[in-house]
Point group: C2
Chain length 383, copies 2
């Protein structure tokens, strides 16, 4: 049931013909209240897609009633006509649902630099409104997929309230969000400040720490709608922790479906002077094509890890660095440690641990290996 598991929400996913595959491509999520509290986080890319430019305005007042999403076209770098298409979509949803256009978030995903087929989108939105139902979450999750091989969905149960979420994203998983669209719903009665703080913290610790290929998207949006219809006011910690747990679940689903990946890699940076140092070191490793190809080749190549650590300004001494693959400390104090032969990189899950010996902070960055399939998919598929 995902995003329709919390009370007060209806959703739909329909086929509008924007995708040449003929698969579902328009989704709609509606918050029926009583509350219209909302929060969102967007890509930090300065070259943003039109739906992001629009939706940032919608969220200015921390309120939203509906999210309309399309796959089959990112509506990005499409100029004033593209912005107009986004605006029209919001107006159409608003007219059909008796809302204001500024209560309607718009998200798009697909090819960059081409105009959406406005007629098809219009027909799709009408069909989606007609199809809205209290169990439409899974259909919406399916309609936002692009190169995803499976829908991403999660639900968490709190004390008297529920949080649900759907996500899409398979490539371009990167800093400050991935090419991802995420819709989160809850029937908890939370105020806007609580919703916003909880969403930002959850995003910071989950989606923001995915770095599949270092490429930052133009359309990333994570939006949280709060209906308040459970009548339950959870404590901010309870709500925030549950939201974070759900976002972690969705983030791991995104990681597990990353384009062409053979390995899911957790890079744990421990004993850092600061959390930011740990994040920076983890990200530098996650972005090393040499490290990522080595994991693809099942080679526990710690030298490439040290070379990446050395590009950062984190606090550490080169001759004190330790590195482990799956708990085998192949590098001790910047020199060869345990035998590489003890490391088995056949399983999909890989954990790299880097001990900076500079403090007490830690962070984990998740990434994938760099494979032939990644090259194939991204050289053959235009995004």
């Amino acid at each position: 049931m995902t995003i329709t598991a919390p009370r007060g929400f209806r959703a739909a996913g329909v086929t509008a013909g924007l995708k040449v595959s003929g698969k579902p491509d328009v989704a709609l999520v509606v918050n029926e209240g009583p509350s219209d509290v909302a929060a969102a986080v967007f890509t930090t890319n300065r070259c943003k897609a039109n739906p992001v430019l629009w939706s940032e305005r919608v969220l200015d007042d921390g309120r939203a009633r509906a999210v309309v999403l399309n796959s089959g076209g990112a509506n990005c770098y499409t100029g004033p006509q593209g912005f107009q298409n986004t605006h029209s979509a919001a107006e159409q949803v608003a007219a059909r649902l008796d809302l204001g256009a500024v209560e309607v978030v718009v998200c798009s995903t697909g090819l960059i630099g081409e105009q959406l087929e406005a007629d098809k989108l219009r027909t799709g939105i009408d069909a989606a409104v007609d199809a809205l139902s209290a169990d439409g979450g899974p259909a919406a999750a399916e309609a936002i997929m692009t190169t995803d091989t499976r829908p991403k969905e999660a639900v968490r149960q709190g004390n008297g309230f529920t949080i649900g979420g759907i996500a899409k994203g398979a490539g371009m998983l990167a800093p400050a969000l991935a090419t991802m669209l995420v819709v989160l719903t809850t029937d908890a009665d939370v105020d806007q400040a609580t919703a916003d703080a909880a969403l930002r913290e959850a995003t910071r610790l989950t989606f923001d720490r995915l770095d599949s290929d270092g490429c930052m998207s133009t359309n990333d949006t994570v939006v949280l709608l709060c209906s308040g219809s459970s009548g339950v006011k959870p404590g901010p910690n309870e709500f925030g922790e549950l939201l974070r747990d759900l976002c972690h679940d969705l983030a791991q689903q995104l990681l597990g479906d990353a384009e062409g990946a053979d390995h899911d890699i957790a890079i744990e940076v421990v004993n850092a002077a600061t959390e930011q140092d740990a994040v920076n070191v983890g990200r530098a490793i996650a972005r090393s094509n040499l490290f990522k190809t080595a994991v693809f080749g099942k080679d526990p190549n710690w030298g490439r890890i040290l070379a990446s650590v050395g590009t950062t300004d984190a606090v550490f001494e080169p001759d004190r660095l330790d590195v482990a693959f799956n708990g085998v400390w192949v590098c001790r104090n910047g020199e060869p440690g345990e035998s590489r032969d003890k490391v088995d990189l056949n399983p999909r899950e890989v954990t790299v641990t880097v001990d900076l010996k500079a403090g007490l902070a830690a962070a984990t960055i998740w990434t994938n290996d760099l494979t032939h399939a990644y090259v194939h998919e991204n050289s053959a598929y235009s995004t």
Copy 2:
């Protein structure tokens, strides 16, 4: 003749057995003076290889008489024993040539994280001293190759003086140098300040603007030896321009031999507010795996370029950006421009032009595409 084209130099390249292939792996270059002026630029990686740690000390006084180089092992992350091996190599060269050890630069390239076979290196150095000759430049160029498919050599003739150079490097071509070793020689009579300034400027504008895979090496060294034996004191501009031209030639040879590349890509960023803005934008594009795989797929995907530009803090307006592939302006003012169909990405040479419309500065970054062969070579070959 390359590095032995200028008067006052002898060189050699021999086989010491450090490479399992049995190919030449120890090179020696000796400056017979009268001048011993030298300058060098090293990797900015904080996790440096032992030969870099040693050679930085050698260059402290701006003087050097010899460079000994080995392939078949980077002597990197090998601890105190590794440093001792580097030091011993310098002492051995010095003893055989009646120099001080602090006059001997040491460079190593090959696998990281394994001790060099010191016995073989010692035998190789003796053989190299015995083989020194006034036409040994090409043999030295061959002995420093690793995954290079061909030696890189260049010579430039000034007014009464000559500059020669050899280089190696095929992967890890990256910021602030590549995995490259470069030895430059000249018989010009230049003082240390002139040599140093000319080398830094030439490096900044050539080797530093290669960014093949964004990975910074641990062993990079560019060293210039000046014998003064021509007796000619060129003006600093004449010397600097000729040196830069020669370094550009070597850098293009490195680019053309990058591991697994199908395309050589020049990213020209024009009308930037500052040169640094232009460099930052060019580098962001050069590091986008999505852009690089698109070029491999012969897809003039300007959307991925704009998405990379948007990750920088350069001065620009998203809706004023223009992008061309090989002179075809496929993006105008952040929207689709000329038809992508006009772009032919079959030839190896690709020029991407990004017009920031923010000022008068410009810079070019050179990179390669991301191919199946890159993934293969770097997953199968441990460095």
